[in-house]
Amino acid sequence: MLKTRVIPCLDVKDGRVVKGIQFVDLIDAGDPVEAAIAYDAAGADELCFLDITASHEDRGILLDVVTRTAEACFMPLTVGGGVRTVDDIRTLLTAGADKVSINTAAVNDRQFVARAAEKFGEQCIVVAIDAKQVSDEGEQPRWEIFTHGGRKPTGIDALEYAHEVVSLGAGELLLTSMDRDGTKSGFDNALTRAISDAVAVPVIASGGVGNLDHLIDGVREGHASAVLAASIFHFGTYTIGQAKRHMAAAGLAMRLDGVGGAS
């Protein structure tokens, strides 16, 4: 049986982790490669790097990080942030990324998704969707796509957009609630469920995790195939093992290889 994935996400800027890993004694808490190795050892199911480097010219640093991570970690790696062209994708995949996530470039040009999927296969094309609720209370819930870190509305309906990018070849959706991101109040499970039930591809729930029950809710209520979190893991609030055992104890199918505890 396929297991629910737990994915720690690292924000990387100029080759450095923006919020350093604090749950283990690392020689260099800001080194993404060291962080990746620590998560690999802890039993993470995948790893996600989000590059928030401002300048496109400095992206060579990220490639080096991806290469060194792929050399040290025998686990799947998704890399996103600033991916604009088929060449960007090729470069990341060649460096060692297994999947590449596309965000704004797909909002601006949906056909980019189709070109990428046809070239590299839909399984390695993740479309990242940043959505915010735009309906008022009491109304039928409606979410829109926002870009620029949630600051810029696009007027695009999130559900329609999800349908469209999947039909064009997105193999997975990384869905972030911009309302919940950073709040620690849990995923927007209504949003996750609306999208997950509407598309045939896996949906990764993201944005808002504050405790381990939130991860369970993302799967049970949100119907997510995978859950992504950052700060609860980076700051050592919970370990990956604790998260997976907690989810398994609630009855979810989890991979507990190397995590310890009851399987």
């Binding site: 049986m1 390695c124 290889d257």
Partner: protein, 218 residues
């Protein structure tokens, strides 16, 4: 005796991790095996073991391979002719089939009977791609799986695929994985094996399988 493993580089991504995983297995196995990432058919011709990775769409991988002058001929010569141990990974495994049906119909090598078809889980709630960690159910025991716990309580392998090799000869199916029905996880015939999952991404299970491949003497 020093042996050499050639991992074929034909412009399909994800090769660093494959190279590193094989190099690590070679180091830990203490066999003095060298691992070479190559797009040169002559290097492949001299290799003792051959690995064909593959990420992307079937047709694109096939044309990438054909774009290297002489590569397919060398593969046939070494794998079919000389019987050297061969491992196909993901689309590299799918290419062993008779035909791929992703983005049109594309001929494969025809080493394993069957076509590469879209996964159609019986449960419509199951997502495609089949993406993530799943266990293996052995259909025909194989040396590459020696020492690896399989079955529902066994170790997990990492899958990312929307298509699978629908084998027509049951003897060539080594293992399946359960995803709304049996999905082909591994195939084998004589000196050739192929995994739909990514051993180089499958942590303990994957490194063990690679180590087994390095000492495999079919």
């Amino acid at each position: 005796m020093i042996s050499n493993v050639a991992i074929i580089d034909y412009g399909s991504g994800n090769l660093h991790s494959a190279e590193k995983a094989f190099a690590r297995a070679a180091r830990e196995g203490g066999t003095g095996t060298t691992v070479t990432l190559t797009s040169d058919p002559e290097v492949v011709r001299k290799a003792d073991r051959i690995v064909l990775p593959g990420v992307g769409a079937f047709a694109d991988c096939k044309s990438g391979l054909l774009a290297i002058d002489g590569m397919e001929e060398v593969l046939i010569e070494t794998v079919i002719g000389a019987g050297r141990p061969f491992l196909g990974i993901c689309v590299g495994m799918q290419l062993m089939a008779e035909r791929g049906l992703e983005y049109g119909e594309t001929p494969g090598f025809g080493w394993i009977g069957g076509d590469v078809m879209r996964i159609e889980p019986a449960d419509p709630m199951l997502k495609v791609p089949h993406m993530g960690w799943n266990t293996l159910d052995v259909v025909n025991p194989h040396p590459l799986l020696e020492g690896i716990p399989t079955g529902p309580d066994g170790l997990h392998a990492y899958f990312v695929h929307s298509y699978h090799l629908h084998t027509t000869n049951a003897a060539q199916c080594v293992a399946t994985t359960d995803y709304g029905g049996a999905v082909t996880a591994m195939v084998g015939r004589d000196n050739m094996a192929g995994t739909q999952f990514h051993p180089e991404k499958s942590q303990t299970l994957g490194l063990k399988l690679i180590a087994n491949f390095m000492k495999w003497a079919p």
